[in-house]
């Protein structure tokens, strides 16, 4: 049960929202949207190993 992954993703989310506000004030609207996309991609990359481990565990437990 690695809990640090949860806090990493929460941290990334907060960072992205803060940077979004900063970028909006600096007038760079399009960078803000690109940043949001980058945040989603990073979080996805962090999540995929856990989902993969989940399905492998289910496969091993139920002898599929």
């Amino acid at each position: 049960m690695n809990i640090d992954l949860i806090f990493q993703i929460a941290g990334i989310g907060l960072l992205v929202s803060i940077l979004n506000i900063v970028l909006k004030q600096a007038g760079k609207e399009e960078q803000a949207h690109i940043l949001a996309l980058v945040g989603v991609v990073i979080v996805l990359l962090l999540i995929i190993p856990t989902i993969n481990q989940l399905f492998l565990t289910i496969r091993s437990v139920f002898h599929l």
């Binding site: 049960m1 690695n2 809990i3 992954l5 949860i6 806090f7 993703i9 929460a10 990334i12 989310g13 907060l14 992205v16 929202s17 979004n20 949001a36 945040g39 989603v40 979080v43 996805l44 962090l46 999540i47 856990t50 989902i51 481990q53 989940l54 399905f55 565990t57 289910i58 496969r59 437990v61 139920f62 002898h63 599929l64």
Partner: protein
């Protein structure tokens, strides 16, 4: 106890998800997916001993192993379909959740079709 730990993790991540939801709906959904997967992983690893007990019982009572593996496969499909449909419901996609559940039911029905046929044959034989 373990349940307290799981509850703690669930509550903390629920707070984080609600915090993230104002700004970024998609990140909140991804975090929810991650926490659901972690707790599901925690639960499934605990299920291992139950499966071992089931198999030993099956050997003692003489149930043929192919039926037990089928039951385990159906249980796994039910869990995964439920997991997927709840995540879709989390994202307010009721129709998608419904279709995932329908797919799960169809797959389970397909798997259990031969068993239904054997049961019918058995019943017909019993009747005079």
């Amino acid at each position: 106890m373990e349940i307290v730990r799981v509850l703690g993790i669930a509550l903390i991540s629920a707070l984080l998800i609600v915090l993230l939801r104002q700004e970024h709906e998609e990140l909140a959904l991804l975090l929810g997916l991650l926490v659901a997967a972690l707790i599901f992983l925690f639960a499934v690893t605990r299920l291992e001993s139950i499966v071992v007990i089931l198999q030993s019982l099956a050997q003692h009572t003489g149930v043929s192993p192919q039926y037990l593996t089928l039951i385990l496969k159906i249980i796994a499909i039910a869990y995964i379909a439920e997991f997927g449909s709840q995540i879709c419901r989390d994202a307010d996609l009721e129709a998608l959740a419904g279709t995932v559940e329908l797919a799960g039911r169809v797959i389970i029905l397909l798997l259990s079709a031969p068993i239904i046929v054997t049961i019918f044959n058995l019943v017909l034989k019993l009747l005079p």
